[in-house]
């Protein structure tokens, strides 16, 4: 995602932004960040903490994610800071590994859906004609079935596994990405410089990557945040239903399900993984809000 943002802008559409780009990326970023509202800062810090936790999970976690280290449902405090789960695995360690597994899988899925949906969307917008018609009508039909329901049907046929989950969710979510990237790209495709590139004989991938993509980046980046939230919530819901990420992998959705019985005793442990999911989605939403506000050119 960031790779393509580095491509220098071409053509008249972005000429107005060119001077600010020369000032150096780091100082410009810092200037933007200093003006960011508190909610965006909160979101960025939370996201940074999640990323840090997922990368350094093995160093941070006191135990492994699958090892049985205590009795079932040990209380908080003492040897196990947040107690143990229904099999006697350390809750804190599983929460930390969950950041890597749950967030990692959701991120991978979103990346895949953007590569797939974005490429097809740009292709449809540039080629037009029957390719566009065929792809658009297929997407229309796929979108008329609720995503969670469609995912359930496909999972019941292919069987639940992490690979199936990633592929199914990525394909289903790519339909939304397709719609957006096609519609924003259609505004750029009619520009003269795209026509010029075509006339000098550039191939489709080159036009997609060098002419169109740099100009439609801001809405796609914002959409990436929102799609990530959606995919993350859907995968968590599927895992919660026992049909997503399978045990013994530490995953927040299934951790809620496995320890849900504790709720009836007034123990808030099962709320921790659920809260971890909610906190990340809220944070991403805050950052996306700020980003949209910034790139849409609105000033207070």
């Amino acid at each position: 995602m960031t790779d393509s943002a580095h491509i220098p802008p071409q053509g008249s559409l972005v000429a107005a932004q060119a001077p600010s780009r020369r000032r150096g990326k780091a100082s410009r970023l810092w200037r933007d960040l200093r003006k960011a509202p508190a909610s965006a800062w909160f979101g960025l810090i939370v996201i940074a903490v999640y990323v840090f936790t997922s990368i350094f999970a093995p160093l941070l976690a006191p135990y492994s994610e699958t090892e049985l280290v205590g009795g079932a449902f040990d209380p908080w405090g003492g040897q196990f800071l947040l107690g143990t789960d229904q099999l006697g695995r350390d809750m804190l360690s599983r929460l930390i590994y969950g950041a890597r597994n749950t967030v990692g899988i959701a991120f991978l899925t979103t990346m895949l859906s953007f590569v797939l949906g974005g490429a097809l969307g740009l292709m449809a917008a540039i080629s037009g004609g029957w390719i566009d018609q065929m792809l658009s009508r297929t997407v229309d039909v796929l979108m008329s079935i609720p995503q969670l329901i469609f995912a359930l049907v496909l999972l019941s046929i292919l069987g639940p596994s992490v690979l199936n989950l990633i592929v199914i969710m990525a394909v289903l979510d790519a339909t939304r990405v397709f719609r957006l990237s096609r519609s924003v790209a259609q505004g750029v495709v009619v520009m003269d410089y795209v026509e010029a590139a075509r006339l000098r004989g550039e191939k489709l991938p080159w036009i997609m990557r060098r002419e169109i993509l740099p100009n439609i980046m801001p809405p796609l980046v914002a959409e990436f945040g929102l799609r990530f939230c959606f995919v993350f919530l859907t995968i968590s819901a599927l895992s919660f239903l026992g049909l997503g990420i399978q045990p013994p992998t530490a995953d927040w959705g299934s951790m809620v399900r496995d320890n849900a019985a504790l709720i009836t005793y007034g123990d808030i442990t099962p709320l921790l993984p659920a809260g971890a999911i909610a906190l990340l989605t809220v944070s991403v939403n805050f950052v996306v809000d700020w980003f949209l506000h910034k790139t849409s050119g609105l000033r207070e």
């Binding site: 079935i145 329901i149 359930l152 292919l158 005793y265 999911i277 809220v282």
Partner: protein
């Protein structure tokens, strides 16, 4: 022909066409079955003869076209086929998918209906209030709360409600078990927590859209005019802004009711409510395909129907279409 009628009929035709294509997709997904599927259903010890008998019985040996026509022909007559849980087994009793779905569909509609009855008036009220007192502390508080509840997974909200309203302060029950003989009051009491969860999930979105639709209109000249006339703010919103805001509001309400259909799956599992969502989740984990297909078709049909309704409401409430020049 009347342009409104024509547009509505066009949408209706499009909806039916979509439903037809969706039924083909749901039926065709079975072609993607991995080869060891019969073994997964019958168990690893199944002999080749049992596997062949099972495949003949569920029709996996016939062409997809024949199977699709039979399946759809059955559904038109209210026959969704037989559950795999009975097919291939030695037990004599057969479970019809339609018999499994029908009572649970009623339960789900009851739950979704109760949620909609609370959520729609509440979100309209909150949206109007937030538009009236925009940028006040009330508006900001509602904004933050709604953003949080949109971003939270349904099961998080559900367990927080259980924690506070069933465990810490035992006002409601956490298991929403309803039986055929219960009175309406008892039923409503039993489904209070799942209803509240669904309300929290959909109110946020509807309320934000109501607020946005009204505030969008407040900049129009005719609103400015009535403000200069000295009409009270509440009157302006109720008498002048709201009538023009109905189209987007009705649209978002219908879309959220369609969303209820999906949101209900997770909520039913949390509260072990005997609805169609839980039936589908059970069927998926048992890989009981006829039940999964039946449920998926019912869900998709409801979803398409409600989206269609949203379209129709938008068309009908558009004055430019109602009074053609």
């Amino acid at each position: 022909m009347n342009p409104v009628l024509r547009t509505v009929l066009q949408r209706l035709g499009l909806g039916i066409a979509t439903l037809f294509v969706v039924s083909i997709i749901i039926s065709l997904t079975i072609e993607m079955l991995p080869g060891d599927f019969a073994k997964a259903i019958l168990g690893q010890s199944a002999t080749p003869e049992t596997v062949a008998a099972f495949q003949r019985e569920v029709g996996l040996d016939r062409s997809p076209v024949v199977r699709y026509v039979e399946w759809v022909g059955g559904i038109v007559r209210g026959d969704f086929g037989e559950s795999y849980a009975s097919a291939g087994s030695l037990a004599g009793h057969r479970r019809l998918v339609s018999e499994m779905i029908a009572p649970r569909l009623l339960n789900t509609l009851f739950l979704a209906g109760a949620a909609a009855m609370i959520a729609v008036p509440l979100s309209l009220f909150l949206g109007i209030m937030a538009a009236l007192y925009r940028n006040s502390y009330f508006d900001r508080a509602v904004n933050v709360v709604s953003l949080t509840s949109i971003s939270s997974p349904e099961f998080f909200l559900a367990y927080i409600l259980i924690m506070f309203l069933a465990v810490k302060f035992p006002i409601f029950v956490s298991l929403a078990s309803i039986t055929p003989g219960m009175s309406l009051g008892d039923r409503l009491y039993a489904i209070m927590l799942p209803t509240l969860t669904l309300v929290l999930v959909i109110v946020a979105h509807m309320m934000r859209m109501t607020r946005a639709a009204i505030i969008n209109l407040l900049a129009s000249p005719y609103i400015e005019m009535s403000r200069l006339k000295g009409v009270k703010p509440l009157q302006i919103i109720l008498r002048h802004a709201l009538p023009n805001a109905w189209a987007p509001i009705a649209n978002v309400i219908a879309l959220n009711l369609a969303y209820l259909v999906v949101g209900v799956v997770v909520v039913e599992v949390v509260f072990t409510y005997p609805g169609i969502g839980q039936l589908m989740v059970d069927a998926v984990s048992k890989r009981d395909l006829p039940v999964v297909q039946g449920c998926a078709l019912v869900f998709a049909a409801t979803y398409i129907l409600l989206n269609l309704l949203a379209d129709v409401v938008t068309i009908v409430s558009n004055p430019r279409l109602l009074h053609p020049r």
